[in-house]
């Protein structure tokens, strides 16, 4: 495989590990009431954000739903600023105004996390419309869960994207549950949710969302195709959420069994990639130690930065409601 470059693979592993450790720490901080509100963890789904974003240029656009920490970090956002945003601090990415579900990092072309299911998918078509209008060779990647697929706004967006051949890649992270409702109770064509896009003439493909290399390989092909003007595209990435829907939901809850969760954990994207690396004899177990240590230090520093940062001043309350003249 041409993918098998040691530094490249370790870089992908490191990005996934950063998201994993960052979110484990977020859960701890939630338990300590340093983080409040809703907190939706991406643990188990990291290969999709990392694999997909690895195929993008820095000036391409990415946009996501409310389970957005992974996409933001994969885009290159500073973990300290992301953690500070979760803490509601003035030094957060959005100065504490957004929170976990509404991370935005314009400098890294991360155009936001949105918390009305399906509501950001039209925005993605708009980003793509703007790049096409301005004759820029950029692609827009839009992440959402399979729970958004039956929403009206998703269908309106699919139709517009197909109608106007917009350079947008829809990435459906099919983690099999919309909150506690399994996909077969929510999506009529649950065995192939990509049919929703195909029915508008959008090319679609399914990928193993636990395999970061498979995700990236598919994305590289699709991005080239889109950049050449052959958009849009729909990717259904099969994945699984190891944690609850949010912090209010235990890791398996009443709607799925512990055994089911354990079964999926065997295909943990971090474990899979590590095994691929070890199988190829590119690294030995000891090579991962420094990564763990390095990432651990970054996350610890992010927490320290967030914790020591000030809350927004009262004067910030009314700032940025409007663009002032």
């Amino acid at each position: 495989m041409t993918d098998m470059d040691k530094d490249d693979l370790l870089s992908l592993y490191r990005q996934m590990l950063l998201i994993r450790r960052f979110e484990e720490k977020s859960a701890e901080m939630y338990a300590l009431a340093k983080i409040a509100g809703f907190l939706h963890l991406y643990i188990g789904e990291e290969a999709i954000a990392v694999g997909a974003i690895a195929a993008l240029r820095p000036d391409d656009y990415a946009i996501s739903a409310y389970r957005d920490h992974g996409h933001c970090l994969a885009r290159g956002s500073d973990p300290g600023q992301v953690m500070a945003e979760l803490f509601g601090k003035a030094t957060g990415l959005c100065q504490g105004k957004g929170g976990s579900m509404h991370l935005v990092d314009l400098a890294h072309r991360f155009m936001g996390g949105y918390a009305i299911v399906g509501g950001h998918i039209p925005l993605a078509t708009g980003l793509a419309f703007a790049t096409k209008y301005q004759k820029q060779d950029l692609v827009t990647v839009c992440f959402f869960g399979e729970g958004a697929v039956p929403s009206g706004q998703a269908h309106e967006a699919f139709n517009l994207a197909a109608l106007w051949k917009l350079p947008v890649i829809f990435i459906c992270e099919n983690n099999r549950y919309g909150m506690g409702t399994p996909v077969h109770r929510a999506v009529a064509l649950y065995e192939n949710v990509a049919e929703a896009a195909r029915s508008y003439g959008i090319m679609a493909e399914r990928v193993d969302g636990m395999d970061v290399l498979a995700v990236r390989a598919l994305m590289r092909t699709v991005v080239d195709q889109i950049r050449a003007g052959h958009g849009p595209f729909f990717i259904e990435a099969m994945t699984y959420r190891f944690m609850g829907h949010s912090m209010a939901d235990p890791s398996h809850g009443h709607y799925r069994s512990k055994d089911e969760v354990e079964e999926h954990r065997k295909r943990d994207p971090l474990v899979l990639l590590k095994q691929q690396i070890l199988d190829q004899a590119l690294c030995v177990e000891a090579d991962f130690k420094p990564l763990e240590q390095d990432v651990g230090e970054i996350v610890a520093a992010a927490v320290k930065f967030a914790d020591e940062s000030p809350f927004p001043e009262p004067s910030a309350l009314h700032r940025d409601v409007m663009v002032e003249d």
């Binding site: 949105y114 509501g119 039209p122 925005l123 708009g126 706004q153 309106e156 967006a157 517009l160 663009v323």
Partner: protein
């Protein structure tokens, strides 16, 4: 020059689109049909289908697309065939257009105009006759404009297009054919400035959009009965130019507010509250409101006429507030 309200809007958009290639127009039938109410007559011929974009009948989808395009640097004008259809796009308007700047801590902005006719015309039925300005005014992050004359329509629309905030621009079907003097050449009218449309000493009447014409008609009749009515058009409903109304109330001591929308939580309630807070000591009596009746708009002509404020009702209100009933 003498122009219709429709022609004034057409000129405003035409001049702005010639000035700035980032401006594009999107909506149902805006292109080859020339606009459902012919406001965009000649646009697709001059600017081409890339900038005058006909859409499917999916308001949420194309409004969301336009918001996304604005986030990426374009300056969209969305034409809603009628403001009633804004309800279908309300998630995009309220949850995205109005909030994205604030949620992102000022990183993103949404310079968009969403325009179309509101209020009743002749017997269009309950779903096509609504005055929804209070809904939009309620939401932080939006500006709301509702001009009554061709002069104001042109000057305010040009300002709305140049504004870097989302602006809801409410026209009226029954105003499209009305004519008035419009300044030759380039001019704009700042958002947030009311205008005294008729100077008077005895009582202040605040009215906007179509109701301005009703108020002026009432004022003419009342002048023959010896009552000197001052008529003020806020023109921009949010931000509201309270100073101009307060100055008038300090002079007259009496206030009547006319609006076509429903009474409960209507815009007049807000204006009355603001005046009570700012000028209570100058009022000689309670503020009187003339509003639409609290019913879905009936189709039948006499019932529809009964549901919408007219000059006799404004005259009665003015007389009651002046103790001349």
């Amino acid at each position: 020059m003498l122009l219709s309200y429709r022609e004034a809007l057409n000129q405003a958009m035409r001049e702005e689109m010639r000035r700035d290639p980032r401006i594009f127009l999107i909506g149902e039938e805006v292109g080859y049909y020339q606009g459902a109410f012919k406001v965009t007559k000649g646009f697709v011929e001059e600017f081409g289908p890339q900038r005058v974009v006909d859409t499917p009948i999916t308001e949420a989808g194309f409004t969301g697309l336009a918001i996304g395009a604005a986030m990426a640097g374009l300056q969209p004008i969305v034409e809603l065939m009628t403001m009633n259809f804004g309800i279908v796009a309300l998630d995009q308007i309220v949850n995205n257009a109005a909030k994205i700047r604030y949620m992102s801590g000022g990183q993103l902005s949404v310079p968009i105009v969403i325009r179309g006719p509101g209020s009743a015309a002749h017997q269009l039925g309950a779903q096509h006759s609504q005055s929804l300005e209070a809904w939009f005014c309620h939401v932080p992050g939006l500006k709301v404009v509702a001009p009554a004359t061709p002069q104001d329509a042109k000057g305010l629309l040009k300002s709305a297009i140049r504004d870097q905030n989302p602006v809801i621009f409410i026209e009226a079907q029954l105003l499209y054919g009305t004519k008035g003097e419009v300044t030759e050449g380039e001019y704009t009218i700042p958002l947030g400035q009311a205008e005294v449309k008729r100077a008077g000493a005895d009582v202040t009447v605040v009215a906007y959009s179509k109701m301005l014409l009703v108020a002026l008609e009432a004022a003419d009749q009342l002048s023959r009965e010896g009552l000197d009515v001052e008529v003020i058009d806020p023109r921009t409903l949010k931000p509201l130019d309270l100073n101009t109304i307060v100055a008038s109330v300090k002079k007259t001591g009496r206030l009547v507010i006319v609006e076509e929308g429903w009474r409960f939580c209507g815009l007049g309630a807000q204006i009355a509250d603001s005046i009570y807070s700012a000028a209570f000591d100058y009022l000689d009596g309670p503020i009187v409101r003339v509003t639409g009746e609290e019913v879905p708009m009936p189709y039948s002509r006499p019932l529809e006429d009964a549901a919408v404020p007219d000059a006799p009702r404004v005259i009665a209100a003015v007389k009651s507030v002046c103790g001349a009933a």
